[in-house]
Symmetry: C2
Subunit: 405 residues, 2 copies
């Protein structure tokens, strides 16, 4: 095992808080001394998640623990999912059925396998214990927390202040999450910043079973590709681990400059000194983004795909067409007697924009051209002569070769 | 069945609130029209109760419903007892074991049988349903209430304001009580004034099962024999239904004048006009108390015992010794060489006072006399010559005939 100092250097990277830090040090020292791996817990509710880079922040930390010889313990909250994690939410979640949850759990684990070495990890579903509980067991758990403690939770307090209902069953969530730690005897639990309250609950419960309380390690919330709000599916500002290489790379290139340092720190192992060079004033942020994009893509698709995605992107942004132009079919009866179609209709029929009004906007903005000579079309009333094999381009990244059918 | 108006006259007596009153009328009308008894619920947690006159207020109301042909449904909260009813309490109750609860339930039902016709009543233990519940069933129930609704409860709000903890499991209590009504399809639930919140919860739950919501009927809290605080075991101001006839009668006679109207209304069926006569200015409150005392005692010990208790009380308060003087044993070696013992020690040894200092106070107050001629002893240093058969009197109601052993 690497010595304590060496481990700390790796493990502290990008971490927001370790609570209490002193206990973490002691646990780590004992682990090295006795050559006993720490049990590091990360729990997630299978509520239908497209794992995105935001989720990979704690998952990558978990992988670091694994690589240092510790035990990753993944809790699939198939039972807690039926309650719904209220953390950081401002409304009550809708209820999932057992079947949806089971399906989501399988799907989620497949995605997690892209970051975690599942062969070496322990995976538990908390329905394994909670499913056996009776009413009295629930009561025993509820006895461990007061209404005051629960109401003081930041997200609950906000909802109460805004007069939005907090349902009683939601109060159970942090207690259930805490009990998971007891069941697996966790040494450390990882989570996002907003999870700190929940991560600390376990510390009240573990001594009941004679266990050392766990240490909470929180990670910052990754900002989305808009550079403003947290990365999230519903906000459309996310990069999914299952996205194609080209898509991932393109999205990284679209990120504003400000969050670059955060992305580098949380999503790569590139040494801090090298990151600083890239982000230093005077250096080209494009280079930094390209390096970041390649690093991210390589993790999920390999180095070759990453290099190809970067090359394709460069070609496209320098104005060259990609090596392979996707085919789009167009029904010949959309054309008038002279073989023409209105430009906005063409763009919509080819599926390059979702509506003719969007298409019209792109055309007016100068983002539409056709043919081998990239003839620009900026009048939305223009009629386009379509022949089989015509190439049309919309914006910087959308291109199609027409097949008339 | 008696007509609606006739039933209402009986049922409204001594009632604090009927909520909502309109629905109660409709239920009663339908009951008479269709000759279908109302299902009237009264629940109690077997937490080790000496049933006293305070408890008999709702129980007597339940008996009135029975006598009018309705169905009394008694819920023994053997499962809720494990949570502890927070109503009207200002602290968290201690936890009972299942065995204690079962023992208490048996004992409690025996006492209730003095007021309710158990042959005709339905008796349920709510462990019969809650005992089969899983975690998810509890969650489903908790979904029905918000933190805000719970915190607004008067007793919880008080505890929160006083920074006394309200534990989460206590929040379940009103929901469990409400669910009991669903299980037995209650039309009416009886309870004390402070129960109104809990009685109303069922109205949210019953429609889930397609039931008509129940109506809440609340009774005032009976004041104790001190005339100030609610009757309660811990306050030492209660009259138990299992107390002896003499004890019950004596305690009624000790009540101050103010609460007499409440006692008459809630504990007897004596017509209002007759009560007014007794309590009219100028009439002797002693007569009213004697009538009340006889009425109360007759309910639990029969008319003969009630008359005897009244007669014995009168004799005692007019200074006569009772017919049967209780024997108290005194060890001869407590006496000095001359056969004497200090007066305070004598009183204490006979068990007539709990300590010599209390005894000394009684002596100084002139409350101690000995022998057939009631010789007063007012000097606490006095030495009393004791012979076998000596009668001693302490205060107005304590007397003993000494047997030397």
């Amino acid at each position: 095992m690497l010595d304590v100092q060496g481990q700390l250097e790796i493990l502290r990277r990008g971490v927001e808080q370790i609570v209490p830090e002193g206990e973490f040090l002691k646990k780590l020292e004992r682990s090295v001394r006795e050559n006993r791996p720490l049990r590091v817990k990360y729990g997630i509710d299978p509520t239908g998640i497209d794992v995105h880079l935001g989720h990979t922040v704690p998952l990558r930390k978990l992988r670091q623990f694994q690589d240092l010889g510790h035990t990753a313990v993944i809790i699939i909250g198939n039972y807690t999912a039926l309650v719904g994690d209220p953390s950081g939410r401002d409304e009550t979640r809708s209820t999932l059925t057992k079947e949806q949850v089971a399906e989501n759990a399988r799907d989620y684990l497949k995605q997690v396998g892209r970051i975690i070495d599942l062969e070496k990890a322990e995976v538990h579903q908390n329905g394994d214990w909670f499913g056996k509980w009776e009413f009295l067991d629930v009561l025993d758990l509820m006895r461990r927390m007061t209404l005051g403690q629960i109401s003081a939770r930041e997200d609950f307090a906000k909802r109460i202040a805004a007069e939005k209902p907090v349902y009683l069953h939601e109060c159970l969530y942090p207690l259930m999450q805490g009990w998971d730690s007891v069941e697996i005897n966790a040494d450390v639990e990882l989570g996002g910043t907003e999870q700190l309250f929940s991560l600390m609950v376990a510390r009240q419960l573990q001594p009941v079973r004679g266990q050392d309380p766990q240490v909470a390690m929180t990670m910052p919330i990754l900002v989305g590709t808009d550079g403003v709000r947290r990365m999230g599916k519903s906000l459309g500002n996310y990069i999914g681990v299952a996205d194609s290489a080209e898509n991932q790379f393109g999205k990284v290139m679209s990120i504003p400059d400000e969050p670059m340092a955060q992305y580098f720190t949380l999503l790569t192992d590139i040494p801090a000194a090298r990151i600083e060079e890239w982000l230093a004033p005077g250096s080209n942020p494009r280079d930094a983004k390209e390096a970041l994009g390649k690093y991210v893509v390589a993790q999920y698709h390999g180095q070759v795909a990453a290099d190809q995605a970067a090359a394709a992107f460069r070609r496209r942004s320098s104005g060259e067409d990609p090596d392979e132009i996707p085919i789009a079919y167009l029904s010949a009866d959309k054309l008038d007697a002279e073989g023409r179609i209105a430009a906005p209709s063409l763009i919509k029929e080819l599926g390059l924009e979702s509506s003719t009004s969007n298409a019209r906007r792109v055309i007016e903005g100068g983002g539409f051209n056709v043919g081998p000579h990239r003839e620009p079309v900026s009048d939305p009333r223009a009629m386009i002569y379509v022949s089989d094999g015509l190439v049309v381009r919309v914006g910087k990244r959308k291109i199609a070769e027409i097949r008339l059918v």
